[in-house]
């Protein structure tokens, strides 16, 4: 398989001054306002949270190898809840925007930093504060409501640490709002001369759309969590019918945010995939305008479909029919992206470096994740599948197969830019294949379990479901190991990896025109943009840097 990247021999003994070595000591990190350093703070923090959330996932899968389960149900209920809370609020939502987005968004539009560098640091501290509440809840004995915090269970019946977990999600939400705000202002106000909207990389378009959802949607879930706290502490009847509330109200408020939130989680991943596919096909993204518009379309339509989580909750039949119809609309822009990525390779010059392998895995898994979404948008089949493992599998195909794999694609693509060093390509390719295999073995059986009727969040299940559950756990073991491999070789690369020049992939974009790692203010002079994004030509045209 042909590969692209080039490394520079370590001729110079001294590394040039860059954002990493310009200052040293813990103060230089904890008080930094450099978007790149904040990105690295986030990268470290979300990796820790991913390991915690992943440990819960492994325990969940081990528990489910036996029909009667291994742990008491109270423990199992806490495991799956903490897995969901940690992964969604503390890994998936910040993952790409707070790390790759933070690092690259200013550079890709030719800016020296984000519009509000101090607010950017504040959002990291808010994230840490939220994570502290969540970890406090875990340490004190966990929370058992499911990540959805459905009332009145969460407000009246649960004896677990609901308030601190909800407080964690609430505080982390403000971190997300501030990041979105920063991105939107930066994109509007700080683009370099010549960087018109239609010349912006699709990664920027995706983050702009994500930012819109973050600032419009997140306050609503914050309200839902506050109302849960108010009812739980002060017994004001909001959701509990025994004191005059209505449980359905909670679901409306919660899903008004939490459905768009899945687009917060997937849109930045789609942005990454556009960059990677273009680079390793050496082509402009096919139908650039449609891919850009589809990000905005998903962001807007995403706000109109929350009711599809409630087809069987007793909202009226006609409401269900309207939400089902609108849900099919949001499938179109997602499909358009997949078709355009595929078409981008047409008449290209495709190489198979590790970021591209992750991107292939993304397209395959996201396609399955998207198509299985249609089963859940269709009313009659949703009635059969709602609340079963089919939903679990669909969600993980989009969130892990989509978002996590896209995150890895982006991390491998920009790692040399972020660190100035390369990692082991053979290990990276091996990890990509192992993740793909392990992932499918984990979650494909769950689709079958779902249509057979196995409910999610069950600490014990009928014995006829055991074979499929054991297969799924086998896959999860492979997946768990596979996720550790990049952590190891990337850590190695951070200290020992071979040095690379500014453009090891011979890629297009402003970030590849500055040194690796970049200096604190990215550009010595403000660049002027004279061409559209992805103006790729054959590899040979680019001299090795």
């Amino acid at each position: 398989m042909a590969t692209t990247y080039t490394t520079t021999p370590e001729t110079s003994a001294e590394e040039p001054v860059n954002y990493l070595n310009v200052e040293h000591g813990w103060k230089s990190w904890l008080f930094t306002t450099d978007h790149k350093r904040i990105a690295m703070l986030y990268l470290f923090s979300i990796t820790v949270m991913f390991i915690i959330g992943g440990a819960f996932a492994i325990l969940v899968r081990i528990h489910l190898t036996q029909p009667q389960g291994l742990f008491p149900p109270e423990v199992y209920n806490r495991l799956f809840t903490m897995h969901g809370v940690v992964m969604i609020f503390f890994f998936l939502i910040p993952s790409i925007p707070a790390t790759l987005g933070n690092f690259l968004l200013p550079i890709q539009i030719g800016a020296k930093d984000l519009a509000f560098p101090r607010i950017n640091l504040l959002s990291w501290y808010l994230y840490i504060g939220g994570a502290a509440f969540a970890i406090f809840a875990v340490v004190r004995g966990g929370v058992d409501t499911g990540w959805t915090f459905y009332a009145p269970y969460s407000t009246t019946y649960s004896n677990s640490y609901v308030l601190s977990a909800a407080m964690g999600a609430f505080v982390a939400g403000f971190s997300s709002i501030l990041t979105g705000l920063n991105f939107i202002v930066t994109v509007h106000k700080m683009r370099a001369p010549g960087m018109s909207w239609m010349r912006m990389p699709l990664f920027i378009w995706a983050h702009y759309a994500t930012g819109l959802i973050q600032i419009l949607g997140t306050p609503v879930v914050a309200i839902a969590l506050v109302l849960v706290a108010v009812e739980r502490v002060m017994h004001v009847g909001i959701f509990d019918p025994n004191i005059g509330g209505d449980p359905i109200l909670f679901q409306h408020i919660f899903w008004f945010y939490s459905h768009p939130a899945v687009y917060i989680m997937i849109l930045p991943g789609m942005g990454v995939i556009s960059e990677v596919i273009a680079c390793f096909s050496r082509k402009r993204i096919f139908g650039y305008e449609f891919v850009a518009a589809s990000s905005m379309g998903i962001a807007i339509l995403g706000f109109l479909v929350w009711g599809h989580h409630m087809f069987v909750t007793g909202q009226s039949v006609y409401t269900g029919i309207v939400f089902s119809f609108l849900t099919f609309f949001v499938a179109v822009p997602s499909a358009v992206k997949v078709f355009n990525w595929t078409a981008t390779m047409y008449k290209g010059s495709v190489t198979f470096d590790s970021p591209m392998l992750y991107a292939f895995a993304f397209i395959g898994l996201f396609t399955i994740g998207g198509l299985t979404g249609l089963f859940l948008s269709t009313l009659a089949t949703d009635v059969a599948l709602h609340g079963t493992y089919f939903v679990v599998a669909h969600f993980h195909f989009v969130m892990v197969g989509g978002m996590v794999v896209a995150f890895l694609a982006g991390l491998h693509f920009w790692w040399p830019k972020m660190t100035g060093r390369m990692y082991s390509e053979p290990w990276a390719k091996f990890a990509a294949l192992l993740i793909f295999a392990g992932f499918n073995l984990t979650f494909l059986p769950q689709f079958v379990l779902g249509y057979l009727g196995m409910p999610r969040r069950y600490a014990a299940y009928p014995p006829e479901f055991q074979v499929l559950n054991v297969l799924s756990t086998a896959g999860a073991s492979i997946l768990g190991i596979a996720f550790f491999i990049p952590m190891i070789y990337l850590t190695w690369s951070w200290f020992k990896g071979p040095r690379v020049g500014k453009d090891p992939w011979h890629a297009k974009g402003l970030e590849w025109e500055i040194q690796s790692p970049p200096t604190t203010f990215n550009f010595d002079e403000t660049p002027t943009v004279t061409e559209e994004a992805y103006n790729y030509g054959p590899l040979e045209e680019h001299p090795v840097v």
């Binding site: 449980p247 099919f328 499938a331």
Partner: protein, 354 residues
């Protein structure tokens, strides 16, 4: 060697099918599977095919291709049309599943942490188990005593959340005798995964034998009548004439004019609300604050029994026999309302004892 793979052959891909409606949904399921398979193959062949065909080769340069509006429109419209078929098909089956047939037998389900309590109209009670005759449409009217539960029978491909404060319903018409699982599919606390049971679909003979046991406390309506008397309802809700409170005879499923000008149908949800929180909707011509709140005084099962009793009064025939404590001696009440003071005293006397 083969033996070690035998277990794969034991994996079912579709669960038991217990009704015609389940078979209809399976057909839609297979349609969705087929469309998904075709789309997956198209994408996979496209990605893998292009990746191999256009892999980097010496001397072959990438050709700039900017896009094609025709293609963009084509691959937006065609999938959307296919999706409209899915939508329509799914909505049609859903609509049918939400509207029980006229001949459906009503069975009442109360969910509470962590059990399903089932009451048949003849007064038979079951726990985590539901017996029904084959071929008979069954409508479940469901209530929750605590948190949200969800009643699911995978073999019938039916499910509905059971939300506290609401009546929820679902229906099915079993076509194949069998022993089918019931699951609670909305997470409801520690023993959520033990909130399970079975539906037993029996042929006529067997069901006849099973049902002949009957309920010990009379039919659901008779149990309701007893409650009606015990709780003092009969003092004001006189059956034949105008009392201090609205006449209940012939009320069920009829329109009721409220004092705020609205007209509502006296269905299960309305009756439940009017029993538990009487002041929520006041019938035109009557006063608020006459009837005490029964919220927290009556269990969901009691409310279901009372509604069954009110339902039994629906016909134009003579009212149900007044054995028990229905006071026949109550003086005929004039059609005009009594002075408010007297009514309040009466209301105070009626407060359920705690």
């Amino acid at each position: 060697m083969w033996a070690s793979y035998r277990f794969l052959a034991d994996i079912p891909f579709v669960g038991p099918v217990g009704s015609k409606e389940a078979a209809d949904i399976d057909l839609l399921w297979w349609f969705l599977c087929a469309v998904s398979l075709v789309m997956t193959v198209i994408i996979f062949v496209g990605v893998i095919g292009f990746a191999i065909k256009y892999r980097k080769k010496a001397g072959v340069d990438p050709v700039p291709v900017h896009g094609s509006n025709v293609l963009e429109i084509t691959w937006s419209i065609i999938p959307f049309i296919v999706m409209l078929v899915m939508f329509w098909w799914g909505a049609e089956l859903f609509f049918a599943a939400e509207n029980p047939p006229k001949d459906a037998e009503e069975v009442f389900v109360v969910g509470k942490q962590w059990m399903w309590k089932i009451q048949h109209p003849d007064g038979t009670r079951e726990m985590n188990s539901l017996h029904v005759p084959v071929g008979q449409a069954v409508k479940l009217t469901m209530a929750s005593e605590d948190v949200i539960h969800s009643f699911s029978i995978p073999a019938f491909r039916v499910r509905h959340d059971v939300v506290p404060g609401h009546y929820d319903s679902l229906w099915f018409r079993p076509t194949t005798p069998g022993h089918y699982r019931i699951f609670c599919t909305e997470y409801c606390g520690d023993r959520h995964s033990q909130m399970i049971g079975y539906v037993d679909v029996m042929d006529e003979n067997e069901y006849g034998k099973w049902a002949s046991g009957g309920g010990s406390g009379g039919t659901l309506a008779e149990q309701g009548q007893q409650l009606f008397t015990q709780n003092g309802c009969s003092t004001c809700h006189l059956l034949n004439e105008q009392g201090r409170c609205p006449i209940l005879k012939g009320l069920y499923n009829k329109p009721v004019q409220l004092n705020d000008g609205r007209t509502v149908i006296a269905d299960d949800a309305y009756l439940r609300e009017s029993i538990l929180q009487p002041n929520a909707k006041i019938v035109n011509g009557y006063d608020a604050n006459v009837m005490p709140n029964f919220q927290g005084q009556l269990s969901e099962e009691n409310v279901i029994q009372l509604i069954a009793y009110i339902k039994s009064l629906a016909g134009n025939a003579a009212p149900a026999p007044t054995q028990g404590g229905n006071p026949p001696a109550t003086a005929p009440t004039p059609a005009v309302k009594k002075p408010k003071v007297a009514i309040k005293e009466a209301a105070a006397n009626m407060m359920p004892q705690q």
